[in-house]
């Protein structure tokens, strides 16, 4: 029931009730959870005072171990210790095997393209590993706040595509988290920066995380954060700096243990330490244990390191150029460059970014925490804790969406950097007499050929009335929501028939697979799947009742006859009764019945709202 609160957003929030919400930075190397308490956003530490949770999960024993403890097990059992799972999420097995990440772990054979890591606790998909990290953060937040989280905002790289975003949401679902919004990391950082400084104007956010690079250009204006353009590389990150050092070590040592998990583990650990040391020192000593037990030592100078990473840093600067062009702003218009991500501590990176933008970048905001802080600030608003708040985030789709047409070409439907939410419609027709179905292949990317873009999914549209070839007018609507996820609907215009849509994601878990995982994980966590379903329906019932009561209070008298009101009240009573019980299907049925009963009321409300809206807007309102 679309009881849209047109002129008074947030009216349905019960006053004085603070809803528990959190922001989660699910990072490649480290993850954090933050929340707003007493008006202040802060990251939450664990019982030992540590704010960062290493994004490492160990499966050596009976149950998953997450964080520092898992890292300690990495040296002993590298094959069962999964790190940087964010580099794997939303990717097919073939894609993973073609990257350095693919060399680190063992994967099971796959006939559906889904990567499954072989661990002592069974096969684990990247979604399940991510869910284990999220569970740990959820537990931390709920223990600290003393209650259940209403919902969370989880950040993703701006350059994450649909598959990676969906997979992140799937992981959250498995972990039992309600996701208010997926938020792009640079936007989150901009929020933290903007709310902290109160500055206005055009800013650039240069976000070099462990596994991804994002560059976003935003305009800040009185609490409105408008992304002008975003760009980056979802396969370039600080981890690549580590791998560059690893490659140097291997060359110097004359021994290559990169394909052996234990060897790689050691190499990476030493490389990471060296990278960090070179931030403040001109050279550092690296010691590696050879396969034969002998020790090897070498000295890496900052110059050598910089020469190795130069091409990578240059790639990021090229991305900066492109995004400025996309944004339609020049370098000089950028007031400030905010650095995000641990790898922005590398001196060469700061130097090059400073040189490009013509001024030193901002480095005094903690690059490790800023994303979680921004996410927490948005989560607070989305939970309804701040009804008069000014915060508004207008983000964009990072990659163009298109469909495959004749000859393997891509026809663009929605160009990159279009503000979301966005809906575009395209009309198609049938080519055979009596055709009742059609298939669309949707891809993401900027290239001409479908083969060079990223396949998103195949949409099978069914149920059109059979007609003469070419007579059907099928309008397909491509809608990208505020999370950056695509939804497709289709309608045959001459008959008005809505098509049924079956989605076949190109890289991803089907709903059934997720359900199965949910059930399995429930067994371990000793929760009841039924209980969760019930809770979900009860929450939805509460929302529906709340919205209805507010609407009735406002317009019930005015817009409804006595009979109509009675019908709605009866349906409402049925829902209330069902809500108090424990049959989730009964609640679902009652919600649908109530929606049907109030259809006319809703329509009348919309009409009268439009009149109010149109008559209420005057020039002076916007000055």
């Amino acid at each position: 029931m679309a009881l849209l609160q047109i002129s008074e957003p947030g009216m349905s929030t019960a006053p004085h009730e603070h809803r528990l919400a959190a922001g989660i930075d699910l990072g490649t190397t480290n993850s954090l959870v933050a929340t707003v308490r007493s008006g202040l956003a802060e990251t939450l530490p664990d019982t030992e005072g540590r704010h960062l949770l290493p994004s490492v999960v160990n499966y050596s024993g009976e149950t998953p171990v997450v964080g520092e403890a898992a890292m300690r097990m990495a040296a002993e059992d590298p094959a069962n210790t999964i790190a940087s799972v964010k580099r794997l999420i939303g990717r097919s097995l073939d894609e993973i095997l073609a990257t350095p990440a693919g060399r680190q772990y063992r994967f099971a054979e796959s006939d559906d393209g889904i990567p499954r890591l072989i661990t002592r606790q069974g096969e684990k998909t990247p979604v399940e590993v991510s869910a284990d990290i999220l569970r740990a953060l959820k537990a931390r937040a709920e223990a600290t706040l003393g209650g259940e989280l209403r919902g969370v905002v989880i950040t993703v790289p701006a350059y994450f595509d649909d598959a990676q975003r969906q997979a992140t949401k799937d992981a959250a679902r498995l972990a039992g988290l309600n996701v208010f919004r997926l938020l792009n990391e640079p936007t989150a950082a901009a929020v933290a920066y903007g709310l902290d400084t109160g500055n206005e104007g055009v800013i650039a956010v240069y976000d070099l995380g462990g596994g991804t690079f994002d560059i976003s250009i935003l305009r800040l204006n009185k609490g409105v954060f408008e992304v002008l353009a975003t760009g980056g590389d979802s396969r370039l990150g600080g981890d690549d700096f580590d791998h560059a050092i690893v490659d140097w070590i291997v060359e110097q040592m004359g021994e290559d243990r990169r394909s052996d998990p234990a060897g790689m583990q050691q190499l990476l650990a030493q490389a990471r330490a060296a990278k960090e040391a070179l931030t403040s020192e001109p050279e550092t000593r690296i010691t590696i244990e050879r396969a034969d037990g002998e020790s090897w030592s070498g000295t890496l100078s900052r110059e050598t390191f910089e020469a190795r990473i130069e091409p990578l840093v240059k790639q990021t600067i090229l991305a900066c150029r492109r995004v400025l062009r996309d944004a339609g702003v020049s370098k000089d218009e950028v007031l400030q460059t905010v650095m995000v991500g641990g790898s922005t501590r590398v001196p060469l990176v700061r130097e090059r970014v400073g040189a490009f933008f013509g001024k030193p970048p901002l480095v005094d905001i903690d690059p490790d925490r800023v994303v979680a802080i921004g996410a927490a600030q948005q989560a607070d608003v989305l939970a309804g804790n701040n009804p008069d708040g000014e915060l508004l985030l207008l983000d964009v789709i990072p990659l163009s969406l298109g469909i495959e047409t004749m000859g393997g070409l891509t026809e663009q439907i929605i160009p990159r950097n279009t503000t979301i939410p966005v809906a575009r419609a395209q009309e198609f027709t049938t080519y055979k007499d009596g055709q009742t179905a059609m298939s669309l292949h949707v891809v993401q990317g900027e290239r001409e050929l479908v083969a060079d873009n990223r396949s998103l999914a195949r949409f099978e549209l069914r149920g059109f009335p059979p007609m003469v070839a070419g007579a059907a007018r099928i309008r397909v609507t491509f809608q990208v929501d505020a999370d950056g996820l695509l939804n497709v609907t289709a309608q045959e215009l001459t008959s008005g028939v809505q098509a049924s849509i079956e989605i076949k994601p190109s890289y991803g878990l089907s709903d059934e697979q997720i359900e199965t995982m949910l059930r399995d994980s429930m067994a371990h966590a000793q929760e009841d799947l039924e209980a969760r379903r019930l809770r979900e329906e009860q929450v939805e019932a509460d929302r529906v009742l709340e919205a209805l009561d507010a609407a009735l209070a406002k317009d019930g008298e005015r817009l409804l006859s006595a009979d109509e009101r009675a019908a709605i009240d009866a349906a409402r009573q049925t829902l209330e009764t069902a809500r108090a019980g424990d049959d989730h299907q009964a609640i679902r049925n009652a919600i649908e019945a109530l929606e049907q009963a109030s259809e006319t009321f809703v329509a009348r409300r919309m009409d009268s709202s439009v009149k109010d809206l149109m008559s209420g807007h005057r020039v002076t309102d916007f000055e």
């Binding site: 609160q5 508004l392 503000t419 809906a423 919205a547």
Partner: protein
């Protein structure tokens, strides 16, 4: 909320003209999204969230149409009942087509010039001038309700838009090469 009959101009409380107050457009856009954006309804029931998604998408579509002169022009014509698009209108002006070809050749030859980036800037200024002229011609025709003529000017404007886009790509490549 706006339905199919509300024009984008009405939605933003702007007069239905080609010349618009950019600042007011931006201010109204922010205000509308502040009210209707899905973020305002993150805790609401599913149907409300769906409705807000559609509304916000419509507001974005309207804004993006009005903020771009070319799209705004085509939209005005559509409101006047003139369906517009490359498949609807062919340029018959031989002189114009020759001029387009000359510009294309200049674009192709930019990389070989002595000072390519300066040549890019020169060409950019010229293209901008041409566009401005066409915009003025469009406005004049539109005001006179000579919609066929207006459509013609707008279609020509589209050609220049594509030239500018190509110029941008060429400039990007040149800059990247010079960085090496």
């Amino acid at each position: 909320m706006p339905n199919a009959d509300t024009s984008y101009f009405e939605l933003f409380d702007l007069p239905q003209d080609f010349d618009i107050d950019q600042d007011r457009l931006a201010a109204v856009y922010r205000k509308l999204q502040a009210t209707h954006h899905p973020d305002r309804f993150a805790s609401a029931d599913a149907a409300t969230r769906r409705a807000s998604l559609e509304t916000a998408a419509l507001i974005n579509e309207a804004y993006q149409t009005l903020i771009d002169p070319l799209k705004r022009g085509f939209y005005l014509l559509r409101l006047a009942g003139v369906e517009a698009g490359p498949e609807h209108h062919t340029i018959k002006d031989g002189e114009f087509l020759l001029k387009q070809m000359a510009y294309q050749e200049r674009l192709d030859g930019l990389a070989d010039r002595d000072d390519p980036l300066a040549a890019v800037d020169d060409l950019r200024d010229q293209l901008e001038q041409e566009k401005q002229q066409l915009v003025e011609q469009f406005k004049a025709a539109y005001v006179e309700k000579d919609f066929d003529q207006a459509l013609d000017h707008l279609t020509k404007l589209q050609f220049f838009g594509r030239l500018q886009s190509r110029l941008g790509d060429i400039e990007a490549r040149l800059e990247e090469q010079l960085l090496d």
